[in-house]
Amino acid sequence: MKSTQKTTRKFDSLILLAVFVGFWSLLNATYGSNAIASPVQAIERLVRLAVHGNLLGHMAETFSAYAYALVLAIIGGTLAGMLLGLHKMAGDVGEPILVSIYSLPKVTLYPVVLLIFGLGMSAKVAFGFLHGVLPIAIFTIGAIRQIPKIYLKASQTLQVPHQKYIRYVVVPATLPEYFSGVKIGVSLTLLGVLIGEMFGSQRGLGYLLMKGIELNDTSLMAAVALVLLTVAILIGVSLQRIDHHLRR
């Protein structure tokens, strides 16, 4: 039973891929290569970039910045969220402020980040962090707040020590909701790093993308977009796996 489900899912994914490639080719056929490169052109360009251009170098640059930013965003967001979630007053005061900052277009803050951190790696990491930390903090606050009061009462009745209460009650009760925040954070951090590279950088996938946009080099754009889409889907699939596992 389960294996047939798996085959249908694989089959469905293939159909989706075929529809995607078909739609892409159709756009290419309608608007021409000056507007959008064909899938074949994109893959050719990708191979050329990998062999002659420094594709791997650019990827390493982007993903190392991403790794730093992600670690910082997860640690910072979790700590801030726990702090504000566990103290009711601090949470009531702080949460709306966080939510307003979250809904600001952070691209416009880029000049400030550049002025403070200068060009290069640290600005990218800071920008990725800025995008990722807020959703993680906001969801952590929400996760801690929605723990039913009865859990706390039950553990008090059973005289569970504080550390065990955190370990065996708070963590399992908050994990699924907390992970929803981490999911958004993981996505937005990558977006932040890429946007960061689009302006203040000479290396990385974001830089390649910006170069493609500026020169209207559609095959370069499509090649980079292909890499990014693949990475995003890989990240999405693994996040979804963890999510299903946590919610079971």
Partner: protein
């Protein structure tokens, strides 16, 4: 009557602004990096009075508003579709999960080819940013409809359309409101970011222009304007949400 929490919140915000003001005035933060909040504010007033901001503001606002409308309509119908066709949903779930990591600006040249050189590509980037949170939250909302409602609908022999309009959408409304809040924020972010990177009009463009020409004061004044507008919209949406939840008896 302002609650104690709100008072404290204003105190915290005021304290931050004051600290920044002092740091800037004493020269600990160089004026080339951040200008004092009072200067941001006075520059903003000057710019508003001189009418410098008006056209940019209008074009951004119009684009964002259109983007929000399209996102909401597409989002709700997309959510319904995915909820109905569970096979499609299973396939698309990983795409939705990591959607926000792809910079949608990649699609700008394609959007220009599709819609021409006008406001539409900018609006569509706003839609691309905003629509997914609406889809995801509409899906969540439909998932959480109590079975009793649907059974009642069966008892009353409602048609499929009636079930959708009279039961599903209203029952999913609180969850959709959460999605709507995010959609508003993301559409604004998308439009302003697209203007910042690609366009030749709007507030985002004005900020980029000021930055490129070292007009730090104007840049911060515009950022302040965006911050104020977004905060006002946020407060309005939050109060609407609260009313909605109170009426449902959730709070």
């Amino acid at each position: 009557m302002i609650s104690r929490v709100a008072q404290l919140r204003w105190l915290v915000v005021g304290g931050c602004v004051l600290t920044l003001e002092v740091l800037c005035r004493t020269g600990i933060i160089a004026p080339q990096v951040v200008v004092a909040p009072s200067i941001m504010f006075s520059t903003l007033i000057e710019m508003i009075l001189s009418g410098e901001v008006t056209t940019n503001f209008e074009s951004t606002f119009y684009s964002a508003l259109t983007a929000i409308l399209i996102s909401v309509m597409l989002g709700i119908s997309g959510g319904l579709l995915l909820w109905r066709v569970s096979r499609l949903r299973r396939v698309l779930e990983p795409v939705l999960a990591a959607y926000y990591s792809v910079p949608v600006f990649v699609f700008y040249p394609i959007l220009i080819a599709l819609f021409g050189m006008n406001d539409m590509p900018i609006i569509m980037i706003g839609v691309l940013f905003g629509v997914v949170s609406m889809i995801v939250n509409a899906l969540n909302g439909f998932d959480r409809i109590p079975l009793v409602y649907l059974k009642a609908a069966q008892t009353y022999k409602l048609s499929a359309w009636q079930v959708t309009y009279l039961i599903r959408i209203p029952a999913a409304l609180p969850q959709m409101m959460t999605g709507f809040k995010l959609t508003v924020a993301y559409s604004f972010i998308g439009v302003i970011a697209a203007e910042f990177i690609l366009s030749t009009s709007g507030l985002g463009y004005a900020i980029a222009y000021a930055y490129n020409n070292f007009e730090t004061r104007a840049m911060y004044a515009l950022m302040l304007l965006i911050m104020i507008v977004v905060s006002i919209i946020n407060v309005c949406l939050m109060s609407i949400e609260k009313k909605l939840l109170t009426r449902r008896g959730v709070i």
